[in-house]
């Protein structure tokens, strides 16, 4: 066995060398950054390479599920990064298929095919999990949730559930961390021998989530569950909450944990990451520090600050992708003490060319929010304003419309007082433009 592993490692050397030349060639000939292609070729012709690379990393943590993979991964990275002994490898959100993960492993290895990492936190696409689980031998598999796509006409969610279950079944030694409230997710390890941990939120939150079927009664679970209580959304759009429960039969109790993004669904991601952190024996102080240090990326609660002279204004970006995510975010805005809101709606392909979805979103929820003012911006600002007109009972709420996102930034900056936080809900391309106008490029 050892010999064959050694043999595989030796074989890696020419493979890596040629793939690096390929990347270089692609870059020189300007045919792209060449990040996924080597992975594609190597996974096809040298299937053993993946296993030979990944098995060098002692702690493999897999995160899968339909929503919140990237946030969970980012929070977990923040927790693990607090420890100097941890050497962490992660894949990026776009690279969660076999080729993408393999490309990342090859990029991170030296010319002799060795990888010097203690932990890998990998976001894995749901259908990819059963294809790579055997080779991956994960120590921990976490599943965030299984939401049905709004247009899932063919029962794809059932297939997705079967994929993940298959992946867990192929990893009998993996510890599994599941969303205990989502019926589809919480049953994933039933009948399998894996050690299983759950995370759970109070029922008043789970009611508004698109879970399917009867929510599992997590009250009956006594051990290996983390619950959050007393969830508060603060004025600066951060979230505070308490954590209580047990991991590995050890009591866990945190008061006033905080994450830098609004939204109780991120509390799920935080609980999942904390459970994994505990399982990996990260100490409590570092876990809490790591939670606070987590910075949400790319529109998912990301914080942008604009400063001119003595004045700084915070812009908290909450990307809206569809009626479900819009409604979920609106629901949370009801709980903010004073709301200043920019709604930025474009109609490019990545946003949806048809803005009908604005009418499927529950803007009526804003009637319960404490609103200072609202700006509608983006090329479909007028459609957004119209939607608000039909949702609003109180015509006294000031709504302004300006197509130019730059104008929305300038005018909102003038309107706000130093230190205030403005909530920005952009569609995808309006988020890109907003970030660009704030001086940030694509990451």
């Amino acid at each position: 066995m050892a010999i064959s592993n050694l043999f595989k490692r030796i074989l890696l050397v020419p493979i890596l060398l040629s793939s690096r030349l390929l990347v270089l060639g692609l870059r020189v000939s300007k045919r792209g950054s060449g990040t996924a292609l080597p992975g594609l070729i190597v996974s096809k012709y040298f299937p053993f390479a993946f296993e030979a690379l990944v098995n060098q990393i002692p702690n493999i943590i897999v995160i899968t599920g339909t929503n919140g993979k990237t946030t969970t991964q980012t929070i977990l990275n923040s927790l693990l990064s607090q420890s100097s002994e941890v050497k962490l490898l992660r894949n990026s959100a776009g690279a969660n298929l076999l080729q993408g993960i393999l490309s990342e492993l090859m990029r991170q290895s030296n010319d002799f095919g060795s990888l010097d990492f203690t932990h890998a936190v990998l976001e894995v696409e749901e259908a990819t999990l059963p294809r790579i689980a055997k080779a991956l031998k994960p120590k921990i598999i976490a599943v965030t949730n299984l939401y049905r796509d709004q247009l899932d006409a063919y029962g794809e969610i059932d297939i997705t559930e079967a994929y993940i279950r298959d992946g867990i079944a192929q990893s009998p030694k993996a510890i599994v961390v599941l969303n205990g409230d989502d019926p589809r997710t919480s049953r994933l390890a039933d009948g399998l021998g894996n050690q299983t941990h759950y995370v759970s939120l109070p029922p008043e939150y789970t009611d508004s989530l698109p879970y399917e079927g009867e929510t599992r009664n997590t009250d009956e679970i006594a051990d290996n569950i983390l619950r959050s209580q007393n969830i508060r959304i603060n004025d600066d759009l951060t979230t505070s909450f308490d954590i209580q429960g047990t991991v590995d039969n050890v009591d866990v109790q945190y008061h006033n944990a905080q994450i830098s993004s609004p939204g109780f669904f991120h509390v799920y991601n935080a609980l999942t990451a904390v459970t994994i952190g505990k399982l990996l024996k990260i100490d409590d102080q570092k876990l809490m520090q790591g939670l606070k240090a987590f910075e949400p990326a790319f529109g998912r609660g990301e914080l942008l600050v604009k400063t001119e002279g003595q004045k700084s204004i915070n812009y908290r970006l909450l990307l809206i992708k569809n009626p479900a995510s819009f409604t979920l975010n609106l629901d949370l805005l009801r709980k903010i003490p004073r709301l200043r809101l920019i709604l930025a709606i474009n109609d490019n392909t990545a946003d949806s060319k048809d803005v009908s979805w604005l009418w499927d979103s529950e803007l009526e929820l804003l009637n319960e929010a404490n609103i200072d003012w609202i700006f509608c911006t983006g090329v479909r600002a007028k459609d957004m304003h119209l939607r608000l007109k039909y949702a609003f009972l109180d015509p006294a709420i000031p709504i302004s419309t300006m197509e130019s996102i730059q104008a929305a930034i300038d005018q909102s900056f003038d309107k706000a007082d130093d230190g205030e936080t403005i909530c920005v809900m952009p569609t995808y391309t309006s988020m890109l433009e907003f970030r660009k106008r704030m001086g940030l490029m694509l990451n």
Binding site: K353, D354, V355, S356, W357, W359, K382, D383, L386, Y390
Partner: protein, 265 residues
Amino acid sequence: MTLSLNLTHLYPDNLNLYGDLGNVVTLKRRCEWLGIDCQLKALNLGDAATSGQTDIYFMGGGQDNDQLAVVDDFHQLKQVAIRDDTEAGTIFLGVCGGYQLMGKTFLMGDNQETKGLGIINVKTQAPSKEVKGRCIGNLVVELPSETHAEMQSIYEQPKEIPQTLVGFENHSGQTYLGQDVAPLANTHAGFGNNHEAEYEGARYKNVFGSYMHGSMLPKNPHFADYMIWLALTRKYKDPTIKLKALPDMEEIAAHQYIVQRYGKP
């Protein structure tokens, strides 16, 4: 005397794609602003329809299996009542899948032509081999002058209303109008009913069909008002009823944006 209207949303649990709800919200809110008492009722699978209970029906589109379920239910529990109502002039609006469903045949996702509700004499069939792609994109259409003139005459005060309707179409089915059915409008931008004919939507008595999502009624407030006015004059047997002219600044701004961006100069 406070005027009142009964609005029935057909199959909201099953036919609820692409902003259909926006049309119902618009009718309801505009009635409120116009001082008309509007009672909204839903008829879902399993609910029987009774004739003479409704002034305006609305029906949206849904996914294939939902549309199939609706056809069976409609023929068993609703067809007689709704047929009687629409023949007697009750207002009915169907959008996209809802429009297709109202006809003799409609189209399933696999291009299977299927028996529809048969409320109006239109047929929807698969696109011919030569025209492959879906009809998808922004739609600008022009109402016939007579319809526009009638729409302008329904207000207490003089009111400028556009002669255009705007929306977003997204369908592969090609709809052809049969006898007694008139097109709703001429197409300026986009396709409308099908790839060949340059018209969009259908009207038979007070039954309207249209491919416009967007949602349709919020950006076409004159059309929403027209439906309300038709329903009132019919219900109260008084053709002299007039509506308050609402300011509609936001509605017309959103409407004109589409006309300017996509309409013919």
